[in-house]
Amino acid sequence: MFEAFAAATIAMATPILLAALGELLVERAGVINIGIEGAMLAGAFAAIAVAHATGGALAGVAAAIGAGAAINAIFAFVAVNLAVNQVVAGTAIDLLATGLTGVLYQRLFGATGRAFTVTPMRSIELGPLVRLPVIGRALFDQSALVYLALALVPAIAWIIGRSRFGLRLRAAGERPEAADALGLGVYRLRWIALLASGVLSGLGGAYLTLAYADTFVEGISAGRGYVALAVVIVGRWNAWGVAAASLMFGGAIALQFVLQATAATIPYQLFLALPYLLTVAVLALAGGQADAPSALGEPYVRP
């Protein structure tokens, strides 16, 4: 049972982690992107639609990357170049993705919403590591996207903390006018972060349809993008913290699979609501935004 729980935790944490790592880059550059939910949804749909049409999961993943990046490009133009309110712009992006995927889904796969499935991404066993107790299957018999997500944690920690690009990114998020005065190109940095985030959110969406559900239903992202936003806050704008918070939320979602079977008297809705309840509770306890980038969410207009 623990083994199943561990595997489910990793499976549930992966899409959140992918999206949250992208959002981490974006927020360190000073932008808050509520539209991340939309980018995930678009990625999820594009992945399965293209995988269905071509029969190849890889093509689906590529499409998800493209869709996520495209959605974020729209957001980047509106929120960065036009310097409008980021929360409102992000909400519009979510609506756009919900609507687009809904319309296209019906158009391509019929008004009845006939469920369609694809050959899922195979999981890749990492040799003898799989035989480790409890965590063996959970960590080392997973799809490539899981390994990618886990590998990205130290990579993004390094990028933000140590690299030249990361230093510039932080500068853009701390004091954009000063960063621009030094010629660092705030708009460019924010665009790069948003495109990278689009790619990661798209991958998170692809994981949902290609590696986890093997099908698409409307609204399949189910608020995971929003949870990713909370994960960044709970993780204190730090890649390792984000990884830990993602696992916590993954565990909260995974709990329903384990407990629902054993504790039938508890309404299943409680389990479904658990990640959201947990988000509110953790934010209330973790409280403030003292570690947030100073310029987070403030539209920046070049002088």
């Binding site: 140590r162 030249r164 230093l167 500068a171 010629g183 100073s294 002088p303």
Partner: protein
């Protein structure tokens, strides 16, 4: 040779620069002087590539720098600038701040160590000290930040170094070291442009002086050939007549204090920003609080306004009431709501809100009429009258609105922080007259400023604020007061 040719730049309806020509030669310190709002900062912003010009060209050694060229391109052309409030990243270490400059490094420990080593060379050549390794900028003093900003600018090995009023943040003792360092830069063949509105400073350190007034260059002079009187005349145009000094108002010794602070203490991130501050202001007096920016004045004003929660101490009368009016330092950031009309901005003040919204319902007509009357009385020029958005006013008019609002609430005491920043002399005199009349009528004023001249002219008693503490002083000698401000007397 640095040249600016026929530069114009418009902000909304204001023509900030009107076909300005400017020249500075290698191996010279060139002072650019003018009153606040004369266009100095806009001009250097354009030269440094931070702002785009509407027309005109900037040339370095005869080669044109494209108007609106990216800052990166200008950096290649080697023009570096240090701005009025040093553009540092407060929550990063100083090494990271420098790595973002001309050292162009990442943030790995090895890289930061290399940055620090090279920075120490530059700093040593200029006679500067640098903070200890991995110190966070936010924890350093204002003078250290200015030095960091200058070292970062020098890290680009610039041909042209622009210093935009960096000295306004420095105490006199620090200023001397700083001006000496400028001399060394000149000796190294660089073009140094020093923006300032302090005439003595310009005369003391510069070789040549360009004077600006209302968006135009009115003179270019050799520093040796001119005097402060001539510079002042050029800067201001005609000297305002109404500047006759009046004796500072005397308090009524029998009256109870209008404002009493007792052992105010405020701790932020482990530092005592306000450290057991006690002071009283009695009816009829103007008390001056001198100090270099960043020694706790802003927090003190916030505390008196009731905008922060104190760790210890008490304020009488209690904050938030009608008895004390506060005029904050940053009027746009802290004092006005630029999108709202003038009459609503007046209602931001608690006593006026209470007056025009008794029982919570706003009497619009009365509030508008009151506002129109106030605009009239304080000569605030607003095209659309009370319905005009505060953001549509010019800086001077916004400041007068701030002061008028404080006076209109009929408080017992006014706490005014840096109220003449950005005002020309005439407007400043008007503001001072308003305060003097208020004191003459029995009001109490606490005037907080970095400008000693202003305080010496307006105030009776003088206090000095250093690192969150307040000392009273009977000394009125600017030199010794300057030392006190720098904390040398401790």
């Amino acid at each position: 040779m640095l040249e600016a040719r026929a530069i114009s730049r418009r902000f909304g309806r204001t023509l900030a620069l009107d076909r300005v020509d400017f020249h500075a030669r290698p191996g010279e310190i060139h002072a650019l002087i003018g009153e606040n709002g004369a266009g100095k900062s806009t001009l250097v912003g354009i030269i440094a590539g931070r702002l785009a010009a509407d027309s005109g060209a900037v040339l370095l050694d005869g080669a044109a720098l494209r108007s609106g060229a990216s800052a990166a391109a200008l950096r290649r052309a080697r023009i570096a600038a240090v701005y009025q409030s040093p553009m540092l990243f407060e929550r990063m270490t100083w090494e990271e701040n420098l790595a973002l400059g001309g050292f162009d490094a990442g943030a790995a420990p090895r890289e930061l160590d290399a940055v620090a080593a090279r920075a120490r060379q530059i700093a040593a050549a200029s006679g500067f000290d640098l903070p200890p390794p991995r110190a966070i900028v936010a924890d350093r003093s204002v003078a250290e930040r200015v030095r960091l900003a200058i070292v970062r600018a020098l890290s680009f090995e610039p041909r042209v170094l622009i210093l935009d009023e960096p000295t306004s943040l420095l105490a006199p003792a620090e200023l001397k070291i700083f001006l000496a360092a400028l001399g060394r830069l000149r000796a190294a063949g660089r073009i140094v442009v020093l923006v300032t509105h302090k005439l003595a400073e310009a005369r003391a350190v510069a070789d040549r002086i360009t004077v600006m007034r209302r968006g135009r260059v009115v003179a270019e002079l050799r520093a040796a050939d001119t005097g402060e009187a001539e510079l002042a005349r050029l800067m201001i145009g005609a000297l305002p007549m109404a500047l006759a000094r009046r004796p500072p108002p005397e308090p009524d010794p029998a009256a109870a204090p209008a404002l009493t602070l007792a052992a105010l203490t405020l701790v932020r991130e482990g530092r005592r920003v306000l450290d057991e501050i006690s002071l009283t202001v009695r009816p009829g007096e103007i008390v001056g609080l001198a100090g270099v920016d960043g020694n706790g004045q802003a927090e003190l004003v916030e505390a008196i306004a009731g905008a922060v929660k104190l760790d210890a101490g008490s304020i009488a009368p209690a904050p938030g009431g009608a008895a004390v009016a506060v005029i904050p330092q940053h009027r746009d950031r802290d004092g006005l709501v630029l999108e709202l009309p003038l009459w609503e901005n007046l209602m931001l003040a608690a006593p006026l809100r209470a007056r025009f919204a008794p029982r919570g319902l706003i009497g619009c007509g009365a509030a508008r009429r009151f506002c129109a009357d106030l605009l009239d009385r304080f000569a605030i020029r607003a095209a659309a009258g009370p319905a005009c958005a505060a953001g549509a006013l010019s800086g001077g008019n916004r400041q007068r609105l701030s002061v008028a609002r404080a006076l209109a609430g009929a408080p017992r005491a006014i706490v005014a922080h840096d109220i003449c920043r950005g005002l020309d002399l005439g407007a400043a005199a008007q503001v001072h007259r308003g305060l003097a009349e208020f004191a003459a009528g029995g009001g109490a004023v606490l005037l907080i400023s970095t400008d000693l001249d202003e305080l010496l002219e307006c105030c009776g008693r003088l206090l000095v604020m250093v690192r969150g503490r307040v000392h009273e002083t009977a000394d009125r000698d600017p030199e010794r007061l300057g030392l006190l401000m720098a904390g040398a007397a401790e």
